[in-house]
């Protein structure tokens, strides 16, 4: 209780104290310069543009909606707006009153037309308090060679230090040794519960509809929480406000079309993007009758409408729908996400930016065997979120920027319903629905204490509540269900409160280098019931309950950041340590699907991870890219697993290297290459055998005591653009790519089996998914 009171005091008093300060400290009168920063060509607002003055050098950056506000004492200044890849704009201002300055930035022309653009301000790497973070825009993503030529932002994220795919070709990712369900994935603020298509080989994000992506591996903003490891914040484009335009591509496995443009000039814009794979469109030509009716495809639809009501009010409506459909003679599987977000930006004053969001998110799957059969069944599972967010950015003074707000979400879980669809052999079977309320309150302050020292500190108060109706089983110490409790509708029968302090410090050693540190506490109330490394679309999310406590993580990071050769090269090196509590794993041979006693399969313990991440990155010139090396370890200690001995966490990969390069031969021709290396994933192998029922039963080593063979792979791509002519409205480019160029047979799994001819002989067999995979696509812009 005492903690609660002190927390509330923090929330209420801090803004008061700070605003008091800022009012008193001004001997000179101060004025506000504020506005939006946009791209000159398409009118998209730009997030993260640095705005700084030439005298006090007090910089700020535009927020996610392109808004900035800077407070300066009266006087003459030169304001500088800079963003890598764009021409820096300098603006003379005479501050004798509050001024609104909207700025449009033009793509830099001293560089090649579509140069790789990464990062933000030229010295953002060193100056920002942010650490353990990576921002990538859709252009960079588009240049990196991709599996089957299908450009994918998640695959690019996996090339960054500290991020690894969960298995070959998977769009699941592990951040700093964490599980893939410890990543909060947001698309325009709506949670994406399963970001995978086609068993993970592709992610749900259509790059043509994406503006930018930010991955927070640590130092997660206080506005967000609910996952232990990371936040992947994906923002959709708002739509071109200058002219009607489009992009399209015809690729090896899919085609895409994006249309965008103004509906009311400079006020209302739209974006509509679609993608569909079409491998199955050729199936009717197949000789085998069984295959002709098969279906195998996925699609994504993105939609956005932006409207400027007036100077102080803007509305954004965005939506996403995607689905995988797979059908063969055995049955049909469909799964997908749907999201919608309605956002309202409002300026209470030049200093107080407000955003309210109403968000809907849903994930579901269904499986059915052909109806009519005695054994026919259908099986569905679904979850839905309804959320509201209230976020304030308060540019309190030239030294303090506050961010505060509140969120509330109602979660519905329908983990599984299975019923017979045939002649009634099967009775129906369903798992009880679960309902959850989740709230949060947060406040953070970025304080420019001195010219060299910036502090960011904040607190997030997260509240989780199980609410009826619901049926919950009670378990004995052997995890056997003994009885159940039924709760009525509206009965809040369990509450967890989590206090999550977050602190970040940046000390600027000089203009070229800085040291940073951060601490954060995160909690996670939802877990994916998955004990395989890559998982399937059928894995279900389950909430915390009186039986399942929230998982907790404390993370400490330190880093050294340095820019070289006039900011051409960015270097950083970070170390981190994470301590995890209430870590969830599952018993041996756990049954996670359609199991009403799922909580009886859970085993709880602790874990820890540590590591070193180093990256050197070049953002300018003909040759761009990065080289990164990661050392990371991750362990779990769970009393009832592996005899209580420490074991390697499922994503413990000690060494990882990635080299990403792109070279512009001319304005028309670009070549890119990536090479990745990682230690093999930990696995459990047999160390003995027993014969029972005429079968050879393996006897295993300690859990995860062995490793898969090392993973490495080279991918290449070549992009050739059509000739540029003035007045030409149609710009085309060819993209050729090769995945796994030197045909490395990386192990996807290693199995032990017996010889067909001599059942006493056992041997090991590896399965690999990909040989050399070439692909070609043609992209157009108009």
């Amino acid at each position: 209780m005492q903690r609660l009171i002190s927390t509330l005091a923090f929330f209420i008093l801090l803004p008061l104290i700070l605003s008091g300060n800022s009012n008193n400290q001004g001997l000179q009168e101060k004025f506000i310069i504020s506005g939006y920063v946009r791209d000159q060509t398409n009118g998209e607002v730009l997030a993260g543009v640095t705005v700084s003055d030439n005298i006090l050098k007090r910089g700020t950056a535009t927020n996610a909606y392109g808004y900035y506000s800077i407070t300066l004492p009266s006087g003459k200044y030169e304001l500088q707006y800079s963003y890598i890849g764009y021409k820096t704009v300098r603006k003379q201002v005479d501050t004798d009153q509050n001024i609104t300055i909207d700025i449009s930035l033009d793509l830099a022309d001293n560089q090649l037309n579509e140069v790789i653009v990464t990062g933000k301000r030229t010295d953002e790497n060193v100056r920002s308090t942010e650490m353990s973070i990576a921002r990538i825009d859709s252009k960079t993503i588009g240049r990196i060679p991709a599996l089957l030529g299908e450009i994918d932002l998640v695959k690019v994220i996996q090339l960054l230090p500290g991020v690894q795919p969960t298995s070959e070709g998977s769009s699941g990712f592990s951040v700093r040794g964490g599980s893939s369900d410890q990543n909060l994935i947001l698309l325009d603020e709506a949670t994406i519960y399963n970001a995978s298509h086609l068993l993970g080989f592709f992610s749900v994000f259509n790059n043509d509809a994406v503006k930018d992506v930010t991955l927070y591996k640590g130092d997660i903003p206080t506005a967000y929480g609910g996952r232990l490891s990371s936040l992947l914040d994906v923002r959709m484009k708002d739509g071109n406000s200058k002219k009607f335009s489009g992009t399209g591509s015809i690729g090896t496995i899919s085609s895409k079309l994006t249309l965008e443009g103004p509906i009311i000039k400079d006020r209302t814009t739209f974006l509509l993007a679609g993608r569909r794979t079409y491998a199955d469109l050729f199936l009717p030509l197949a000789k085998d009758e069984n295959i002709r009716d098969n279906k195998l495809y996925f699609y994504d639809l993105n939609f956005k409408l932006s409207h400027v009501i007036d100077e102080n009010n803007r509305l954004f409506l965005s939506g996403y729908a995607g689905r995988d459909i797979f059908k063969n003679q055995f049955g049909t599987i469909g799964f997908g996400n749907r999201t919608a977000s309605l956002r309202w930006n409002h300026l209470f004053s030049k200093k107080l930016f407000f955003n309210m969001s109403l968000i809907y998110s849903r994930y579901d799957y269904s499986i059915g065997t052909p109806p009519g059969d005695e054994n026919a069944f259908t099986w569905t599972s679904k979850l839905r979120d309804y959320s509201a967010r209230f976020d304030f950015t308060h540019y309190l003074s030239d030294t303090h920027t506050l961010k505060y707000g509140a969120t509330t979400t109602f979660h519905e879980f329908f983990p599984g319903t299975a019923s017979g669809s045939g002649n009634g052999v099967f009775t129906s079977f369903f798992l009880p629905a679960e309902y959850v309320l989740e709230h949060s309150l947060y406040l953070s302050d970025e304080f420019k204490a001195t010219r060299n020292l910036t502090l960011k500190y904040g607190l997030r108060l997260a509240v989780f509540q199980n609410i009826g109706p619901g049926t919950y089983y009670n378990y004995d110490i052997n995890h056997t269900p003994v009885d159940s409790t039924v709760y009525h509708k509206g009965n809040i029968f369990n509450t967890y409160v989590s206090f999550e302090p977050r602190i970040a410090v940046n000390y600027l050693i000089n203009d070229k280098s800085s040291v940073k540190g951060s601490y954060l506490h995160t909690s996670q109330f939802f877990t994916l019931a998955q004990n395989s490394t890559a998982g399937t679309p059928l894995d279900v999310w389950f909430p915390a309950t009186p039986n399942v406590k929230p998982q907790l993580c404390d993370q400490l990071s330190f880093g050294y950041f340095r820019n070289l050769d006039q900011n051409k090269y960015e270097f950083s090196s970070e170390v981190y340590y994470k301590n995890l509590r209430n870590v969830i794993d599952f018993r041996d041979h756990a049954q996670l699907l359609l199991n009403q006693y799922l909580e009886g399969e859970i085993r709880i313990g602790s874990g820890y991870s540590y590591g070193l991440e180093t990256i050197i990155r070049k953002n300018e010139g003909r040759m761009t890219g990065w080289i990164s090396y990661t050392y990371s370890r991750s362990f779990r200690i769970i009393p009832e697993i592996n005899n209580g001995n420490r074991y390697n966490a499922p994503y413990d990969k000690p060494h990882a290297i990635s080299i990403v390069t792109s070279y512009d031969f001319s304005k028309r021709l670009n070549a890119s290459a990536t090479w990745v290396y990682a230690t093999g994933l930990p696995v459990t192998f047999p160390t003995g055998r027993a014969v029972i029922g005429n079968a050879i039963i393996p006897i295993y080593s300690d859990r995860n005591a062995y490793r898969m063979t090392d993973y490495h792979r080279l991918d290449l791509s070549l992009t050739l653009k059509g000739k540029e002519k003035t007045g030409k409205k149609w710009h085309g480019e060819w993209n050729l790519s090769v995945y796994n160029a030197y045909n490395r047979h990386n192990s996807w799994s290693i199995n032990f089996t017996h010889d067909v001819n001599d059942p006493n002989v056992t041997y090991a067999e590896k399965t690999y998914l990909f040989s050399v995979i070439p692909a070609i696509s043609y992209n157009v812009k108009f």
Binding site: T166, S167, L198, L199, N328, Q329, G331, I333, I367, T369, E374, N375, F377, G420, N423, G424, V425, F426, T427, F429, N531, S532, A534, T536, F586, D588, H589, L593, V683, T684, P686, T687, G688, R689, V691, I692, G693, N694, A695, I696, I697, P698, I699, Y700, S701, H745, W748, S749, I750, N751, D758, N760, Y763, A764, E765, T767, Y768, L769, F770, S771
Partner: protein, 284 residues
């Protein structure tokens, strides 16, 4: 429920049919030797067997080393039955013995020399009753593969209790499902307390010579009510033998049996009921 899992695995794995396999060499450590027990007692009147062997290194590539000279007894608390060793490691009761539903049977083994640090091992198992099968029916399913499948459907009243069944299939009195991988085990979650009305209990793949049926073949289905622990044992062993992949498989782990002192294996008591059907001509 496992059959649904198989169908789903089939559906999902077909999506990644692009994979290839190759044999590789791996160095494995050897863990210590343990006793392996594979024993049953059923309601049939026959010589019931308990097989004792030892674990070996994984790439041992020979038949399992058998354990001879042990004293093996089975008791239901009233009668104690001594088993005698025929072939090395294979211990049998007299042929006149049968188990009684509702009794709990205990196995006691005393070894001549220590294995895994112990000479004495015990296990016990409750013999559950089973409702007699009304009938089975054979149905040809051409749609699932080129050669098609014969599906064996069963008709039996399931009692209201939570039950676990094993189905074994014989063709002309010869057991086809003769290894643990081929045993079909299911719980009654989807038909608890109901009439099964043709639920599938086996699929005989006509592309496999040992499962191929001809017109006039007599098919016998045996149903055992095996209890939860033995069902879990079989399921767990099957999942280890099915092979693992990053999509479905949890970490491989040891199969937990019911023998004391860290021995591997299971001593199972169960009831038996059978029904027959004759293969008819395939109507294509």
């Amino acid at each position: 429920m496992r059959s649904e899992k198989t169908i789903i695995s089939g559906l999902l794995l077909a999506m990644i049919a692009v994979s290839c396999t190759e044999r590789i060499n791996i160095d494995l450590d050897n863990s210590y030797t343990r006793l392996v027990v594979d024993g049953t007692i059923t309601t049939e009147t026959k010589a019931h067997k308990v097989i004792l062997s030892e674990t070996s290194s994984y790439f041992y590539n020979q038949p399992a080393p058998m354990v001879s000279g042990a004293q093996v007894t089975i008791t239901d608390g009233e009668n104690t039955i001594d088993l005698t060793e025929g072939s090395p490691g294979i211990y049998s009761t007299q042929p006149s013995v049968h188990g009684i539903p509702g009794h709990t049977y205990s196995l006691r083994i005393i070894l001549p020399v220590e294995i895994g640090g112990y000479t004495g091992y015990t296990a016990s198992s409750l013999l559950n009753p089973v409702n007699p099968l009304d009938s089975i029916r054979l149905r040809f399913r051409p749609e699932f593969s080129k050669e098609g499948f014969w599906e064996v459907q069963c008709y039996v009243q399931d009692p209201p209790s939570s039950d676990f069944y094993r189905f074994l299939i014989s063709r002309n009195q010869k057991l086809i499902t003769d290894t643990l991988q081929e045993w079909f085990v299911t719980d009654d979650r989807f038909f608890n307390g109901s009439y099964t009305n043709g639920a599938s209990i086996a699929e005989l793949d006509q592309s496999k010579p040992e499962e191929k049926l001809s017109e006039g073949d007599t098919i016998t289905a045996e149903v055992n009510n095996i209890g939860k622990d033995y069902a879990n044992f079989i399921w767990d062993a099957q999942s280890e033998l099915f092979g693992s992949n990053p999509l479905f498989s949890g970490p491989p782990s040891n199969v937990k049996g019911n023998i004391s002192n860290g021995a591997i294996g299971f001593f199972a008591a169960y009831s038996v009921t059978r029904s027959k059907a004759i293969t008819h001509a395939i109507k294509r």
